[in-house]
């Protein structure tokens, strides 16, 4: 059957068709959709692979790795930053290899549309020594995921399927059976310490040599399977001009190549190891080439080296000559620039100038648009808003200047506390880094108290080791854990702290408070961010103490709470008679449910009853008692 599905969904279906036994991962845009789709499948079908979110990418990889060592097919998913977390185990597993097919799905984000780094997983794969398949669209994402399991089993190497946002999140027609092929073999792990331990140089050197042999074998298999292909070849033996496009750019090449008669195309979907026989045959046919790849000049560098080695005399255009950028996502703009330069065969800079002009036009259109961006803020009813409001108030109450005291932030929704009107967080580095950074700031002698803020999922993921470091070394910091019970930024995934009745049947909840307590911190308080008075008092006290103080600010994420709970709290409304339009509610909370009503003779604040969840934070701010609860609770 043919369905309109995303690249991520297509990877999930490819894995089902390949007969996986198990899938794990940690949520991270743009990779999340694969495991979400598999979880949906497992929810709909009695016969399904075992699918679950792990506490972090390293653990997720290890679980999948062991299943594959025992002969099963296993999938693990993560975003590019997650690969860094799992790197220790991934690089080591490359040495050991695998028995069952082990596929690591990593989604990159050229253009940083989801924030974080423009990390190029092809270079990570080169470091690890693992093959990379790079599907150009959802259909190929499904097919290449299936092929990746075969390649993995035949080479005994874990295989990376690399996606980018424009494939992972794009929907297009995909033919798939949509069924799970139940694995037949029973899992069985053979003891083999020369392969599955690293005790001794002899073992490691042997494993390293085997890894390189397996990579050569992968290159052969990729060549045999003709994963990379040529298009619109020149007639006869005349030398041609070729555009090489990798991954998603291959689809743009299909679209634009007909506009450039005389140019030929080379489509690459296996980008590590690069198929040298394919590239050599390309050089034999070509007088000029342009390499179209996002981010790093990975193919271009290999091709230039190959050309130099073989004494090839033609011309290669790409990033190294400044034609195409290493920063940002490509679209038809960059592809056109590359094809134009190749067709003209003259100064490659003219194409570059055209591309640069277009990009500049995007940044600064001919007529100035209003310089107003909609800032990303917390949802209406978000408990994090209450935590940062209370922290800001606590600084004031404790007589501390907020401009002098560092508040580190962390990955996830909690970082939105950096935005107006809260302006609380100063830093965002990596999962769990808020705590390590706060320890470092405190030890380096910046103004104390130093505050760290982190969400619940991020704390479980990578926040516990730095907290242990702080306790052991008797550091001085205030850690606020904003515990909303969900991994919210990526779409409300269950995490270890999610309430027991929202955990799937075979899972149980771990209470962050018990974890923190067990580490022997100097103080621990649990606050309700919707009770501003008590929360502010607790944070004020915590700011003035010394030692490792932990405050857990606990209230469920507003969106799953609204879905789960039948009756909402009564929403709030503004009494226009009492509102003096001081806008303190808006200034302090920035809640998106608040708006200005200027329909009557005077301007007053108003609250959108559709958005308001009844958290009451605006009411706590109002000095004129102009905000009250609607009398009747609204249902739904």
């Amino acid at each position: 059957m043919e369905k309109l599905i995303s690249g991520n969904q297509a990877v999930a279906y490819g894995a089902l068709e390949a007969g996986i036994t198990l899938a794990t991962g940690y949520p991270g845009t743009p990779s999340t959709g694969v495991l979400s789709e598999l979880l949906d499948f497992a929810g709909r079908n009695k016969k399904a692979p075992r699918v679950s979110w792990s506490v972090n990418e390293k653990v997720a990889f290890e679980i999948a790795c062991a299943a594959a060592w025992a002969g099963a097919r296993a999938l693990v998913t993560m975003k590019m930053s997650g690969a860094n977390v799992a790197a220790d185990s991934i690089l080591s597993a490359a040495y050991s290899g695998t028995e069952g097919g082990l596929v690591i799905y990593i989604a990159d984000d050229p253009g940083a549309e989801a924030g974080m780094a423009e990390q190029d997983t092809r270079l990570f794969a080169q470091l690890a020594g693992l093959p990379v398949l790079e599907p150009r669209d959802p259909q190929r994402a499904c097919e290449l995921t299936c092929f990746a399991f075969e390649l993995s089993e035949r080479t005994k190497l874990p295989v990376i399927v690399r996606s980018v946002t424009s494939v992972a999140h794009a929907l297009s027609p995909v033919r798939t059976e949509g069924v799970w092929k139940k694995p037949k073999a029973e899992p069985r792990f053979e003891r083999d310490i020369r392969r599955f331990t690293k005790a001794g140089a002899a073992i490691c050197l042997d494993q390293h040599a085997r890894l390189l042999e397996r990579l050569d074998q992968a290159e052969e298999l990729i060549h045999e399977a003709a994963i990379n292909r040529l298009d619109n070849l020149p007639a006869g033996k005349a030398p041609g001009r070729f555009a090489l496009a990798a991954g998603v750019l291959s689809a743009y090449l299909d679209e634009l190549l007909p506009q450039f008669p005389g140019l030929s195309g080379a489509h690459l979907e296996a980008t590590y190891p690069l198929d040298e026989r394919f590239l050599t045959s390309l050089l034999d046919r070509a007088e000029a080439l342009v390499v179209l790849e996002e981010l790093e000049p990975h193919i271009e560098t290999t091709l230039r080296a190959l050309a130099a080695r073989s004494g090839w005399q033609g011309r290669i255009l790409g990033k190294e000559d400044g034609l195409l950028p290493r920063v940002g996502r490509y679209s038809s703009t960059e592809i056109s620039a590359g094809l134009t330069a190749l067709a003209e065969g003259t100064n490659s800079k003219s194409g570059a100038t055209a591309a640069a002009k277009k990009s500049a036009a995007a940044a600064a259109p001919s007529q100035k648009p209003p310089a107003i961006r909609h800032p990303i803020t917390f949802c209406a009813g978000c408990p994090h808003r209450g935590t940062y409001m209370a922290l800001n108030r606590a600084f004031k109450k404790a007589g501390l200047d907020r401009k002098k005291h560092v508040v580190t932030g962390d990955i996830g929704c909690t970082i939105l506390g950096m935005n107006p009107p809260l302006n609380s967080c100063w830093t965002e580095l990596a999962m769990g880094a808020s705590i390590g950074l706060a320890v470092g700031f405190a030890r380096s002698g910046v103004a104390r108290p130093v505050v760290a803020t982190i969400g619940d999922s991020t704390f479980f993921h990578a926040g516990i080791p730095p907290l242990i470091d702080a306790v052991q070394h008797c550091d001085d910091l205030l850690l606020i854990i904003l515990d909303n019970g969900w991994t919210s930024m990526t779409g409300f995934q269950v995490n270890p702290g999610t309430a027991g009745d929202s955990q799937p049947g075979d899972q149980r909840r771990i209470d962050i408070a018990r974890v923190v307590e067990s580490l022997g911190v100097d103080s621990l308080e649990i606050i309700d961010p919707f009770d501003q008075e008590a929360a502010t008092a607790a944070l004020t006290a915590a700011l003035s103490m010394s030692g490792v103080r932990v405050v857990i600010s606990r209230q469920e994420c507003a969106l799953p709470a609204a879905r789960r709970l039948q009756a909402r709290r009564p929403h709030l409304q503004v009494n226009p008679e009492l509102c003096r339009f001081c806008r303190a509610c808006l200034r302090e909370s920035g809640c998106p449910a608040l708006f200005i009503d200027s329909r009557a003779d005077k301007e007053v604040m108003a609250i959108d009853p559709e958005l308001c969840t009844g958290c009451g934070l605006c009411k706590e701010v109002c000095r004129f008692d102009a905000i009250g609860r609607a009398e009747e609770a609204s249902n739904g």
Binding site: H169, S172, A251, Y252, I372, I376, T377, I596
Partner: protein, 189 residues
């Protein structure tokens, strides 16, 4: 020939539904179609965009994203967002604007000016003459814009669109159809 429709606006404006309906309409008319939604910030009041590309040939291949200045049609659900993404529309492309301004809180606090329909239209006028800026009804604004799209382009038929809305919308079907018809009948510029 690939055609591209770019939709811009904010979370909560029904852009994902609108994009999905246009995608289905294009697929039903025999096109190969691709849809890219950027909706990560939708729940948090942030920018939402959708990129729809389609081509008459079932076996035509094309990239999923719309290049700068290459949208044949741009649907702006919110004036400020449309203004800041104006470079996406190709010269002489069709611009369909909802005359809706949703100013962020900062604007209210600092008493900044926020662009109105006439100003945003002015920003586009050196790019295209094909501009419609229409005040949508309070409910189902996204379907009003769908009606406007169907009436101002050749590709889609009102009959198919109404049948699709009736099939896809389980709640608010009548209001949706009503809004679609208002958009389809809108004869202003």
């Amino acid at each position: 020939m690939v055609e591209s429709i770019f939709i811009t606006g904010l979370g909560g404006q029904g852009i994902v539904t609108l994009a999905s309906l246009i995608t289905d309409l294009a697929a039903d008319s025999g096109c190969r179609v691709s849809l890219f939604n950027a909706k990560g910030m939708a729940q948090r009041g942030g920018r939402v965009t959708a990129e729809i590309r389609y081509s008459g040939g079932k076996d035509d291949f094309f990239g999923p994203r719309i290049g700068i200045g290459e949208a044949d049609v741009m649907i702006g659900m919110e004036l400020g967002e449309a203004a800041s993404l104006q470079a996406m529309l190709r010269p002489q492309g069709l611009l369909l604007l909802a005359d809706v301004a949703l100013a962020p809180a900062e604007v209210a606090l600092k008493k900044q000016a926020y662009p109105d329909g006439a100003q945003v239209r002015g920003l586009f006028e050196d790019r295209t003459k094909r501009i419609v800026c229409a005040p949508p009804p309070a409910r189902a604004r996204n379907l009003f814009m769908l009606g406007l799209l169907v009436s101002r382009t050749e590709r889609f038929s009102a009959e198919n669109a109404e049948a699709l809305i009736a099939r896809r919308l389980t709640k608010g079907r009548e209001a949706g159809l009503e809004s679609f018809r208002q958009g389809y009948a809108y004869d202003g510029v």
